[in-house]
Symmetry: C2
Subunit: 331 residues, 2 copies
């Protein structure tokens, strides 16, 4: 039986707005205050006033730095001494590595053997040790636990962690403090860390704002979980939005999403490529596929937002430029 | 014999700072106040504090909108009635088209038959009529004059025009008003409209600021003109920086460059591609090759700017995304 999270009092939920505000204080002067971009063309097309919060300009190229730094900054002196472990082949890896570099904490990142060389290099470039594993032989979570037991070290998971969730919520806090009340806030959803953190911030700062999560259609586990109120999973989904290939929401993010999020939408890979093309060509923004999920729902007209004030999170811009040609071949 | 422009009193030069200030007033609320972006990585690499003024976020995707609108906004009611003619296969075409659309002025743009379809479409999309000509049979300047005589219409050239020069200078005015005094300002140079306009603004607002023009090495006519104080030309240079393939500085821009600019630098196409890669991959900015000229001089270390405050104009972001793969093939 699922947890009836919508009936829960928010006081028993794992993250509160006070946690988001505390994260913002920790990140002040460390994270970039990322720009909010508008487009006359988008406003005309949608009939709305749209504000794009550009976390592709965040340090390490994605919002992930917020959660990673907020988590590492709260470690005790003893924990800092032990170092930090995480598993990620993507933006969380680089975020943990840079946060560790800034705070003087040793970091180890577990990546699958077949992770792109460019991502391994970027993570090592920020000073992390990279440990490769064979996807066929074990799960990354199991390896992380094993390494933590054998060598010591605090495991910081990519989304199912209260400190990470609170850190990600500072993106929405900044957006709302910059542009004021919104009617809708569109946020991409993988494991739900950013979505739940941002929903907590929106609930506190703009209570009538409807927060909508956006997933790839082939990885719509969170949409199904949201609709059925029972945790659904997906196995190795095939989507261009690699940051949203997570198997399911987490034990912390699922109740937060049920409590604070008002809707979920799913978009096709073809639609993602169309919106990437628009964001790159017309708005001059380098955005990665996962980073364009929320914008895709808007630009494809999945939300009736005539006359509304709409926030859209652009979440990252880490791409292999050699791949870009193939995305836009039929441009 | 050349004009000894450096000896001229600035009062006899064709554009003054008062013209730039008047252009800024006309553009207020019409042009975008484009963002200024900084990068910890660039600051570390150069030892300077670097401010990138991002005109790729300007309306129509380049600074050209500033000069075009400033020119069209000054036409008399009779001239507006006659309409406007220009020649450009690039960013000036789109800029004139949009300025005409905003001001309700009919615009005609003369383009070579082999201009990319995407540029013809973009220009038509802003409402201009596009007239194609055969490069082998006539020059675009001659066709523009012929059409102006036959059908009426005011010709607005892409750079050798006092109103255009003053409009382009507002980009540097905005940058200096945003970040304060600079030690260096790096500006790309094709026909010299942007360079001379920005140098006028820098001279007025930050008098000790050294203004440096940057050209492609294969199209270094302005560098040679600057050094010899005699107008030099180049014929159809082969460079990825298509906006700087202009044959020479103009009769207005040459004396302004001699009077207000402190130095010229030239960069290779290979260096331009390296800096494009950095701007796209690390700074998440879609920049076109010409738009990256000034940044290239900085990133390649052509200027010793240790400890200095440096402004860099990123001038445009209009690219055919299908070409991008080939630029970054060797990554």
């Amino acid at each position: 039986m699922d947890t009836p999270a919508t009936l829960l009092n928010s006081a028993v939920l794992p993250v509160t707005y006070a946690d988001v505000a505390a994260a913002a204080a920790r990140l002040h002067g460390v994270a970039n205050l990322t720009p909010v971009v508008t487009s006359r063309t988008v406003d005309q097309q949608t009939g709305a006033r749209v504000f794009f919060k550009c976390e592709n300009f965040q340090r390490t190229g994605s919002f992930k730095f917020r959660g990673a730094y907020n988590a590492l900054a709260q470690l005790s002196p003893e924990q800092r001494q032990q170092g930090v472990l995480t598993y990620s082949s993507g933006n969380h890896a680089q975020a943990i590595a840079l946060a560790g570099q800034i705070l003087g904490i040793r970091t180890t990142v577990i990546m699958p053997q077949d992770a792109p060389a460019v991502k391994q290099l970027a993570t090592k470039g920020y000073g992390a040790e990279v440990v490769l594993y064979d996807r066929q032989e074990m799960t990354r979570e199991a390896l992380a636990q094993q390494l933590a037991v054998e060598h010591g070290g605090v495991v910081i998971p990519p989304y199912n962690d209260a400190r990470v969730i609170a850190g990600q919520g500072t993106a929405a806090k900044e957006l709302l403090e910059t542009v004021g009340d919104l009617d809708y806030l569109l946020v991409c959803c993988g494991g739900g860390g950013l979505l739940s953190g941002c929903a907590i911030a929106a609930h506190a700062l703009s209570p009538r704002c409807q927060v909508i999560g956006v997933e790839p259609a082939t990885a719509d586990d969170a949409t199904r979980s949201f609709q059925t109120k029972t945790l659904q999973t997906v196995h190795n989904p095939n989507t261009i939005a690699d940051g949203a290939r997570t198997p399911s929401l987490g034990s912390l993010t699922f109740p937060l999403v049920l409590h604070y999020v008002q809707g979920m939408l799913a978009v096709s890979d073809e639609a993602i490529v169309r919106s990437l093309h628009f964001l790159w060509e017309r708005m001059k923004l380098v955005v990665e596929p996962t980073g364009a999920l929320a914008a895709t729902a808007l630009l494809e007209g999945l939300l009736d937002c005539q006359g509304a004030r709409v926030g859209v999170l652009i979440t990252g811009g880490n791409v292999d430029l050699q791949q870009v040609g193939s995305w836009f071949q039929s441009g």
